[in-house]
């Protein structure tokens, strides 16, 4: 899917999945809240993850993150308190952009997008070097303009499906995605949970594949090699998204690179 001249943003996203697949892996997609643990520390944390990442999600912190569990909530609160605004988040992307070819995706809620104005937001994001957007509280049928604007500014769009999604919803959501499809592993918010979670993932990924040829990545609750393997191998997903576990590691002062290596090991298809 690489384009002749410069790869397009959406092309860059698809190429990243293809490269991981060609290496026999599900793509590792770390999530990190912009400006976490603080403005000075964020670039180093991001680089540590980018070294291992196939794609990367950067969270634009929001005051009322309905889809997030306590770990990402607190990281966002802390980042906002320390002045991580929309513009500062996009500035971080701008600073990372020349250092990496890894696709950079902004994950945020719809209100910050509407506040700046959807078109202005897309323009600023494209300018900063963002490749795609993930908006967990925007079901695609709620806003037709967003999709047209994303197309116009060349940004990839990812919407979410969940274990509760009916085939009709999966159809609507997958049709609206241009970057990849994000399958939420459990009914719930982001963050690790105890017990037999992830059991519903294989069926969900299979359902998605009936409706789309786009890559299908799975997130929510992946925290280590074992849970990554469940997603990458048992469910045969194309990508594994990990957020809360990395944030918790930063908070605890653990070795982020080692954790990312470990999880990346779990993404290997044969293993």
């Amino acid at each position: 899917m690489t384009v002749v001249d410069k790869p397009s943003r959406v092309g860059r996203i698809h190429a990243a999945f293809e490269r991981a697949a060609s290496e026999g892996r599900a793509a590792l997609i770390p999530y990190m809240t912009a400006g976490y643990p603080d403005q000075e520390g964020f670039p180093a944390v991001a680089q540590e993850l980018l070294k291992r990442a196939d794609l990367m999600e950067i969270g634009l912190p929001y005051s009322d993150p309905l889809g997030d569990g306590p770990v990402i909530q607190k990281a966002g609160e802390q980042a906002i308190l320390q002045g991580t605004s929309t513009r500062r988040t996009l500035q971080f992307v701008k600073e990372l952009r020349p250092t990496t070819d890894v696709p950079l995706l902004i994950m945020t809620y719809i209100n910050p997008v509407y506040a700046v104005g959807p078109e202005e937001f897309m323009r600023l994001a494209a300018d900063a070097g963002v490749d795609g957007l993930i908006l967990p509280d925007l079901p695609p049928d709620q806003d037709d303009e967003i999709r047209d604007l994303a197309t116009r500014y060349g940004l990839g769009l990812t919407f979410l499906i969940a274990p509760t999604s009916t085939p009709a919803r999966v159809q609507i959501v997958t049709e609206a995605c241009t970057a990849f499809v994000y399958a939420v592993s459990v009914t719930g918010v982001t963050g690790a949970r105890e017990g037999g979670a992830l059991n519903e993932v294989p069926a969900l990924v299979a359902l998605a594949r009936q409706h789309t040829t786009l890559p299908v990545a799975v997130g929510f609750g992946v925290k280590d090699a074992l849970t990554a393997r469940k997603v990458a191998v048992d469910a045969d997903a194309d990508g594994v998204v990990v957020g809360s576990a990395f944030i918790a590691a930063v908070k605890a002062g653990q070795d982020l690179g080692a954790l990312a290596d470990d999880i990346k090991g779990g993404c290997v298809k044969g293993g």
Binding site: D64, A115, P136, R169
Partner: protein, 417 residues
């Protein structure tokens, strides 16, 4: 009074996509979309089912005590020196506020849908108490999310909920008030969506909540029509005043009049909490001081900074301490169907005392915001006109907080905070 019997009012909006103009919609995680579809289908079936309507009607009459009175407040009228002031006595409902009208409707629906676990958010605790009450009555498990700050200032209601068998989850995220309790309730619902029914307490949230809560609350306005006809010989007063947090008591009394042709429509006035004053930034007046955005699943006027971060609301009354306002109110506002005016903490506190002394009714602090403006409006409209105030709740829950706020005021002599 027959009007509550066996029907739920129909209104022209929302449209098929759950919109009131541009407002409303369903901005929620995809996990919830099938649950909202299921809820909408179940609600549509229930509201057309004579058995459901009869059961609700019986509960509203026998358990809640409906219809609530429409009482001519003569002392207040004399004091204002203008239009006649009628009080729609929702404070006399079982549990002390309008909230029970909606809770019984939703709890009956939950039972019909076979959901045994109920969750709710609460600010003042009135919706929490009403939900806990409905759950006790119908044998449902009840979990109520409440901000830590509200637990402090509405401690009487916390104890009532516990007595009724509800579990209280204290919320300490964000501002520890209603907004955050609502976030937490939505997160619970995303997690337990298959087993759980979320009884939302106001005309906010994703479609179909704003419409469904309005429908259950519109019994208030439908009764006013019949009562006004009997008392004044015409079904519509000249003006209706109600306080607006999320906006459920206001929509309940407005909606049956709002879609009348403009020349027949009474003036509809919602009082928003202006806190310490809209200019101070410490307020909860979403129309007066807000901008259009998305909160709790719905497009509405809300208080946010230029980059879309929600600004903490402030109000003396926990039930109005909310940075948004229901989508139908936003539509009324932009279409000129209703007006929204700010009323400050201090004005509400004075109005609470005024109503207590003039009429022997201690209103909730929320309701006191409406009383304040009704006095101004009655004077402005002049004699020969009528104003109906939705007396949304009684003030028992606020007595300790009011005593604390008035500490040192001699006239209360001896009351300890």
């Amino acid at each position: 009074m027959t009007n509550a019997a066996h029907f739920i009012s129909e209104f022209p909006l929302p449209d098929a996509r759950g919109r009131f103009g541009r407002f409303g919609g369903r901005y929620v995680p995809e996990t919830l979309i099938p649950a909202l579809d299921e809820l909408q289908a179940a609600y549509t079936a229930a509201r057309n089912d004579p058995e459901f309507l009869a059961e609700l009607d019986t509960l509203l009459r026998e358990f809640v005590g409906r219809p609530s009175g429409l009482y001519l407040a003569e002392n207040l009228t004399r004091r204002a020196g203008g239009a006649k002031i009628y009080l729609k006595r929702e404070d006399l409902n079982h549990t002390g506020a309008h909230k029970i009208n909606n809770c019984l409707g939703q709890a009956l629906l939950a039972k019909r849908m076979g959901k045994k676990r109920i969750i709710a958010e609460t600010g003042a605790g009135q919706h929490g108490v009403a939900t806990a009450t409905a759950c006790a009555l119908l044998g449902l498990d009840c979990v109520v999310y409440m901000g830590a700050e509200d637990i402090r200032r509405q401690s009487l209601n916390v104890f009532r909920m516990r007595l009724l068998g509800a579990e209280i989850c204290e919320v300490t995220s964000g501002t520890s008030t209603l907004k955050d309790a609502t976030n937490e309730a939505i997160r619970d619902w995303v997690t337990n969506v298959r087993s759980t029914f979320y009884i939302l307490g106001s005309v906010v949230g994703p479609h179909p909540y704003p419409a469904m809560v309005r429908d259950f609350q519109s019994v208030i306005g439908e009764e006013v029509k019949v009562q006004m006809q009997a008392l004044e010989g015409r079904s519509a007063p000249d003006a209706i005043v109600a306080c607006v947090g999320g906006g459920s008591n206001a929509i309940g009394i407005f909606a049956p009049f709002a879609y009348l042709p403009p020349e027949q429509r009474p003036r509809l006035i919602g009082t928003e909490a202006a806190g310490e004053g809209v200019h101070t930034g410490r307020h909860a007046a979403s129309v007066a001081g807000g901008k259009v955005g998305v909160l709790h699943g719905s497009m509405m006027y809300l208080m946010s900074d230029p980059e879309g971060q929600i600004i903490p609301a402030h109000s003396i009354s926990a039930g109005l301490d909310y940075p948004g306002i229901g989508p139908e109110h936003c539509y009324y506002s932009t279409e000129g169907m209703a007006e929204y005016v700010p009323v400050t903490d201090a004005e509400a506190l004075d109005a609470l005392q005024l109503l207590a002394r003039e009429e022997g009714i201690i209103p909730a602090l929320e309701t006191a915001h409406a009383i304040h403006y009704a006095m101004i409006l009655a004077a402005e409209l002049g004699t020969g006109k009528t104003v109906v105030v939705n007396l949304s709740g009684r003030g028992d829950k606020d007595v300790a907080e009011v005593a604390r706020l008035l500490k040192g005021i001699e006239s209360l002599g001896g009351v300890e905070a």
